[in-house]
Symmetry: C3
Amino acid sequence: MKTLTKELWMDVPKRRQIISIHNDVENLVAESGVQDGMVLVNAMHITASVFINDNEPGLHADYDRWLEELVPFDAGTDPATGGYLHNRTGEDNADAHHKRQIMGREVVVAITNGRLHLGPWEHIFYYEFDGRRRKRVLVKVIGE
Amino acid sequence: MKTLTKELWMDVPKRRQIISIHNDVENLVAESGVQDGMVLVNAMHITASVFINDNEPGLHADYDRWLEELVPFDAGTDPATGGYLHNRTGEDNADAHHKRQIMGREVVVAITNGRLHLGPWEHIFYYEFDGRRRKRVLVKVIGE
Amino acid sequence: MKTLTKELWMDVPKRRQIISIHNDVENLVAESGVQDGMVLVNAMHITASVFINDNEPGLHADYDRWLEELVPFDAGTDPATGGYLHNRTGEDNADAHHKRQIMGREVVVAITNGRLHLGPWEHIFYYEFDGRRRKRVLVKVIGE
């Protein structure tokens, strides 16, 4: 069995931001030498997601607006007025912990003939909901 | 290590449709000869999901109504009137890209003693949100 | 290739309950002897989730309230009055089958140097939405 393990660090200047990590994952799969196997790609932060969908900025803006509707940002600590109990810890990112559950923590992608085995429009992204600092993603390849 | 890779094609006559792929996955796991390992089953389309839940038509109708409430179909391109920026690309399937994020892209299932290792009611489905054409699912088995 | 397969049983006295399974998974990874690989942790019930997020009770209460807003419990069978078609089977847990889709069925976690390879705040939980009986989670380790 061959494996490759890599933490990808990136700058995330905005609070909420979608960043393509597709080429990074593609290159790491090539570097691993694995011909047949799987790659796990996961956020290492609990206010962030890794997801696969369209590389289209209109859709990304739609996601942002929709997630804000489903679980609005609110720094308050009183659920009766739209706040969150989690913010009593001194943080203001409770909404981010919810948004990440909608979009998911991780993806697992097949590797066939040494390459990511994806449909034509599948593209791998990191989605941060509480950024403005350096963040990281874990890439783990296993196979042979 | 043994592996098996298979793209399952299927006809999806309706726009939104849930299709059981459980027996197909079961048969591919048997065909792989893997006794102990994992199988990844993922949609190859970004408007579709693979999920595990009950094989019960009432629940499936409930899912459909609920997803339509969380993110209604709207062919429009103006978010102020219920539309989506993504539809400015000329498509009308922005809602489908959202619904798939709720239901998920993929499942990973354990294989033990040569069989899918599932709880008593777990059943594997494909859920298309923008069908009316042929679609496919990837099945990737690894193990020994 | 090394593997380990274990079903973790637990008592779930409440209808909805979040239970840490983090240490159990950590111990099983150590027991497996796998240095480099992956562990799959999944609910074996279709009204439950395995998820990774903060070990903070305020957040867990926020999740519970939020999920109840997105898909309220209702034992009724008429969607026009807030019920669910699924409850016509004689059950009252249709909401639980929906909540589990938001929070997810499973997580896949990398193993590096014989340990769970996680970010600093990642913690593994089981989330039951229709408890009051014994429930189980599957842990499957593969690697070398």
